[in-house]
């Protein structure tokens, strides 16, 4: 009613209404369970996608856009403090898990024949290791020529392992540029929001050969631009800009944007016999993710508490949230390691005779990969706590005190 009243009754004649519940203010502490849920969904989707490779998964839930939007929103919340300190804090939390991952991956590469002399330029090899310390560009890895530990792995295993690293590189750049982007957003909201989209359209629409700059620069700039609008959307959400426009605007336009992205994808088949994966087309990816994230942020219900049907997932979601970086970094490793383990089973006669369907199934890889991932998170996850200056825990699966639960039920 209050909208109508505000619209149409002269002020002196208005009678005060119980005001509409004020739009939830920028949250100070506590967790927004909705954002937690989105982050967990994004992680699960990434693992599923890297296992199955189904083309429709990125359409169903554009994880990367969602993750960057959430990160952008959190970053903006922190930026009420001095920017330099915030950036240092972010790096402190991001880098140690990556250093641990890098140390292990590089060590394994050296063991498997990917040492300083493997490509004939030892000086370069050592120099490029700097990207493992600060991933301003993709950290180096041995594309092939590895022995695969006696043939148990493919020679390109390192390529697979470092697949998730681009996210950290993009994240680093977003963090570094966030103070600037926030200033720009406050000054020219619309222009800032759409600039990354425009950049990605220009880069990929007009320079399909990607030969204008050094590939490392291209790659970094392209990834940055692809999800930049999502990151800024997250910032705008945190700033309350999205609540300032009439509420019908976003849900009316976002689907149209998504349709545009989908149309772009559908009209550019890569292989006529197969459905095109949106990861193949940066423009489609950027536009689709942007529309999708806009919808998710528009809905954003700000759950202080779980809605009843979702409460049972609290444990898993909390675990995934407090180990997000570890799960993300190590999940491909787990999936890659699952393959040689499954290969051993071919030698078991019973499996060979009766369970071929199981051994060839991608589901089985996932089934083996998940416990492996849990193990890896158990072994390496504590570094996240150390980086965040928390008490290191092995497996932060939340347990609700029994007494509390009982009291709740009585109430």
């Amino acid at each position: 009613m209050s909208d109508t009243i505000r619209l149409r009754i002269p002020e002196q004649l208005r009678r005060d209404l119980p005001a509409d519940p004020p739009p939830p203010a920028a949250r100070k502490g506590g967790r927004d369970r909705y954002l937690d849920l989105l982050r967990a969904l994004a992680l699960v989707r990434v693992v599923l996608y890297h296992n199955f490779g189904w083309f429709f998964l990125p359409l169903l839930f554009p994880s990367m856009g969602v993750m960057f939007a959430l990160a952008g929103s959190l970053m903006t919340r922190s930026l009420s403090r001095p920017a330099l300190g915030v950036i240092r804090g972010r790096l402190r939390r991001l880098l140690p898990p990556m250093w641990l991952f890098g140390a292990i991956v590089v060590a394994l590469q050296v063991l498997d024949g990917g040492g300083p002399d493997s490509d004939g330029h030892p000086a370069w090899w050592w120099a490029k290791l700097a990207f493992w310390v600060l991933p301003l560009s993709t950290p180096p890895f041995a594309a092939d020529g590895l022995h695969g530990f006696g043939g148990h792995l493919e020679s390109g295993w390192a390529t697979q392992l470092v697949v998730p690293l681009w996210y950290l590189r993009a994240y680093l750049w977003y963090v570094l540029l966030s103070p600037l982007m926030l200033k720009a957003l406050r000054r020219f909201p619309l222009v800032t929001l759409f600039t990354p989209l425009a950049i990605v359209i220009v880069m990929n629409g007009f320079f399909p050969d990607q030969d204008v700059v050094w590939p490392r620069v291209w790659e970094t700039a392209n990834d940055f631009a692809m999800f930049g609008s999502c990151w800024i959307l997250g910032m705008a959400h945190q700033e309350g800009l999205l609540r300032r426009i009439p509420q019908y605007v976003l849900p009316s336009i976002a689907p149209l944007i998504m349709v545009a992205g989908f149309w772009y994808l559908q009209t550019r088949p890569v292989d006529p016999t197969q459905q095109t994966d949106i990861e193949a087309w940066p423009i489609a990816q950027a536009v689709w993710s942007f529309g999708f994230v806009a919808m998710l942020l528009h809905i954003s219900p700000s759950w202080e508490q779980w809605p009843a049907p979702l409460e049972r997932w609290n444990g898993l979601v909390s675990l995934l949230n407090s180990r997000a970086v570890s799960v993300y970094l190590w999940h491909v490793t787990a999936l890659v390691c699952a393959v040689p383990l499954i290969d051993r089973l071919w030698e078991v006669d019973f499996f060979y005779a009766h369970l071929k369907w199981l051994l060839t199934s991608q589901w089985f890889t996932l089934l083996v990969g998940i416990p492996l991932l849990a193990l890896l998170v158990l072994v390496f996850g504590w570094v996240e706590d150390v980086a965040a200056r928390r008490r290191p825990r092995l497996f932060p699966y939340p347990r609700r005190p029994r007494r509390l639960r009982g009291r709740r039920r009585n109430a």
Binding site: M1, D3, L7, R8, P10, L17, Q247, V249, S252, T273
Partner: protein, 717 residues
Amino acid sequence: MSRHQRRRQSLLRPRRLAAPPLRFVMPLSLLACLLVLLVLRGLSTNEVFHDTRIAESVDKTTVPEDLLTGGPVIDARGDHKANPVSYRIPDKTVVLSFDDGPSPEWTPKILSVLKAHDIRADFFVTGAMTTRNPELIRQIVGDGHEIGLHTFTHPDLAFQSHSRIGWELAQTQLALAGVAGVHSSLFRPPYSSNASAMDDWNYPVIKYVGAHGYLTAFIDRDTDDWKRPGVEEIVKAAMPSTPGAGELILLHDAGGDRAETVEALEQIIVKLQGEGYRFTTISDALGASPAMVPVHGFQLWAGKGFIGATQVAVYTLPLLVGLLALVGFLNFGRFALMIVLAPVHARRSKRQGAWGPPVTEPVTVLVPAYNERECIANTLNSLAASDYPIEVIVIDDGSTDGTADIVEEMDLPFVRLIRKVNGGKPSALNAGVAAASYDIVVMMDGDTVFEPSTVRELVQPFGDPGIGAVAGNAKVGNRDSLIGAWQHIEYVLGHNLDRRMYDVLNVIPTIPGAVGAFRKEALRAVGGMSDDTLAEDTDITMAVLSDGWRIVYAERARAWTEAPASLQQLWSQRYRWSYGSMQAMWKHRRAVIARGPAGRFGRIGLPLVVLFGVVAPLLAPLVDLFLLYGILFTDASLTLASWGGFIAMQALLSWYAFRLDREKPWHLISLPLQQVVYRQLMYIVLLQSTITALTGGRLRWQKLRRTGEVAAAPVEA
């Protein structure tokens, strides 16, 4: 049909009245069935999944040399999976093969030529043609010819995924089983010719179908008869390259005029028989087991089911298309009527003093209120600002939330309060009319807000003594949310433009409960408000109209109402509206055969309301059905383009309506989404009310207010 909703009642409604999930299941499954029928019929006419792309010839690096130079029949089955082998037709033997059929025009002629010479041949049929011409397939099989698969929709398989290839073959087998009770293990890829034409793209297809048990039959001699080069050319092309060599000849029995093929066939047979050739089928020529095997059990019945359903679909389609045409006709007719009549109304309403001398005597404003605690004060305050002399009567219909106390406490000099026991909105209004001091009564809702000029604008038409009632312009106040914006568009386009049209035709069927005015005399003449229907406003409007009064639309009399803010509330509001309107139409059905003004309404107004308000929305799902069918199964871009054109037209009309109503057009960006979410919701509501009306509803026609399902009618103020 803009009426005001009562928000708080719907919140108070008991839980069991919350819409059951079933309300979506039934309409959706009906639509799904119709979609399946469309697809089946589209399959038989080769409209569905149609793909006309043809792959360019590419390198042959992966094709074994001996296959390229070998015979036309490739065996990549079972043991030959790794190393496919090819077979030649033996010397002095010829196999005639006919592709793309059967066609009702040419296949019988070819069959009779073959019969006359007592010759057996091979027919590579498509699944689409098979489903369309089951009788011919039976005749081909009955005459002892051999049938091979030529896919279902005749695409170039080099472009298709494995699952699509598998589907093409399986679906064709299903059709074959359905019409003739056989499966075939012979296969010929569309757009193929001799074995030497295999390349890196189509060779994997041959291996794939081989792995699934099919023998692929290419050809030796391509007659190019489909280009219609002349009978002589066809015959010449069919002759063996070296005399006496065995050969597999390609002809076509469908896909255009095949008169030359039929004529050439006769000559080919005579000529080759003269050279001592033996005519036979592929499997017989190779000395293999028969390519066709009878099927039994499930496969047979599945095939019969498929063919049966397709036949049903083929016969249903004209009906569906007819209904779709009706929808189109109604929609475009409504658009046209609006475009012609709305400007007439707009011009007329601009004229000052069109109704005679300005009306200045005081009027009574009736505010029925039931639990309007939050809004009643604002409603009355807005009336206090009125620039027209009014007396306000608030009728508290047994509120339990202290609404009456608030009114009393405000102690406004021009407001009278009537407290009564709860009896429903019509009874409250009747009580108000009885207490009214003046001859003209304005009716509004307890949560509606008037502008200062609303009452004055609303009563001006009463300067004309023939006018018995006036409809005002209800506006959505809370238009900032998506659902509010949708309703705003709907009010401006659907309700206000509609009402202009009905006004010009002098058959306004509904005065919105949120803002309307009546002569007391007119109300008395029809016996006041009645609680026969859930839509007392439509009911009374129709009654007044039938009684010979004129009803006009005063567009400048704006009232701001609060539209439902959730889908659940919207659902109950619309359910009540559409069910109530149907009741009102049914109640006044005799107007159709009545004389005088009632007959005029019955023969012009009622049919229009039924057509535009019930028939068109009820058939509207067909539009979505064909849209979905077009996008998913046939030409997506063409379908989307025509649909986009329709939306654009609607947007244009809406923009005009917004301009007439002096509204900013920004909300129109919600129009595309409205068309794919809101519209569907509206017709499902209508469908549900129709089902209620047709089933239990009629039995409880008179007294359904507080019973069972229709207690969806809130206990009204």
